[in-house]
């Protein structure tokens, strides 16, 4: 157990040292959203209508940015091979790493979503389904993306392949996440898509660390 705590602490310490690394996703998110703001005519009501989609896609693309580094830097400095031979459960190590990824590049996006939504002229009544949805959806991306990053860790062209493999797997997350906001915007019940997101999150938390560990072992055989 202590080994896992140490791993978690190491992830956070490394992130604190490489500040540009984890500042990138929130910055990217802000840039995408402001570009949409510049791209349309001033105070366009259409912008508010598209806000759920813009915020969701922006957040997911931003979180995708840092995924490739998840195992690559560990592979380069040999930490990954140490993890593979150490007695610590690789599955738990993968879980911890994905969790750290979410804390560093998913959670800031969730917190940023509310002020950015205000910039897009998003009705404040809809903030709850948006933020709850993002809070449930961004960890899904960290775990699904962690699995795909493990699949592509040893590959020279892994960086290009990663988003192609991740995007179809997170389609349901976007559909239900944006769907929840849209439904409550129309005065309808938003809880069903949010429950779906919770189900997807539970499934990814449970199953994907196992498969990601298998993918890592496969890559190093």
């Amino acid at each position: 157990m202590s080994a896992l705590v140490a791993l978690f602490a190491r992830e956070l310490k490394l992130a604190a040292r490489a500040r540009t690394e984890w500042l990138m996703p929130p910055l990217f998110f802000v840039i995408v959203v402001t570009l949409f703001g510049f791209g349309v005519r001033p105070n366009d009501p259409q912008l508010a209508a598209f806000a759920p989609a813009i915020l969701w896609v922006g957040a997911l693309l931003a979180a995708l940015l840092s995924l490739e580094r998840l195992y690559r830097s560990d592979q380069e400095d040999g930490t990954l091979e140490q993890l593979l031979v150490s007695p610590t459960s690789l599955t738990f190590a993968v879980f911890i790493k994905s969790l750290a990824h979410w804390l560093l590049s998913g959670l800031p996006l969730v917190l940023l979503a509310a002020p950015l939504a205000a910039m897009l002229g998003f009705p404040s009544a809809l903030l709850t389904p948006l933020v709850v949805g993002l809070a449930l959806g961004t960890p899904c991306l960290s775990f699904i993306g962690g699995f795909v990053a493990a699949l592509t860790v040893g590959l020279p062209r892994g960086g290009a392949l990663l988003p192609v493999l991740v995007l179809p797997l997170i389609v349901p997350v976007v559909i239900f996440g944006a769907g929840a906001v849209r439904a409550s915007g129309q005065g309808l019940d938003a809880s069903a898509p949010l429950y779906f997101l919770a189900a997807i999150l539970m499934f990814t938390l449970t199953v994907l660390p196992w498969l990601a560990a298998a993918a890592l072992r496969n890559a190093f055989e």
Binding site: G179, G185, Q186, G187, A192, Y195, F196, A199
Partner: protein
Amino acid sequence: MMSKRQKRMAAVAALVVGLALTAVFGFTAFRKNMMYFYTPTDILDHQVADDARLRLGGLVMVGSVKRGDGLQVDFTLSDCEKSLPVRYDGILPDLFKEGQGIVATGTMQNGVFVADEVLAKHDENYMPPELAKSLKTADGKHSCAPFKSATGVSPAPRSQAVSSSSAPRSALRAREGTVGRADGDVKGGVIVGRDAVVPS
């Protein structure tokens, strides 16, 4: 440090708890139902925002289609429980006719659903025209099954729906006691829906 056996037990326990939570959340979501379109019942039972663009699905009521100037057409859409007037100005799909299932996209304006797109939803039955003629009033045509209410799950709106006079029974003849949804679950909706038949 845990022993190997304890570790395995912990892993299995985590797996079971995770999958159980997945199932709980998944089933809760399904009980609430997710959909591509809403039915008239959903819209009448909810305070839908004025500018909300929605998809509305249902059967075109027999005898309700009125053609206006140019391409304008007025008709009533029903899901065998409640019905809504629809106005549309544009080209209708080939399959559009009375008794046909359609999905319209538009907004609610003063109690009328103003559509800017109308798509036809054909059913899963295939037969030659001669056979279809002989089956005109029998089961299996224009079933309400594909149009299940998303909100009909909660008991309150359902009881209103059954007593509501807004669904003209003459056009939507159903076999005794089967109007409305027997159960909140999807299966119940399908079974009950199959019995509700609209003669064309």
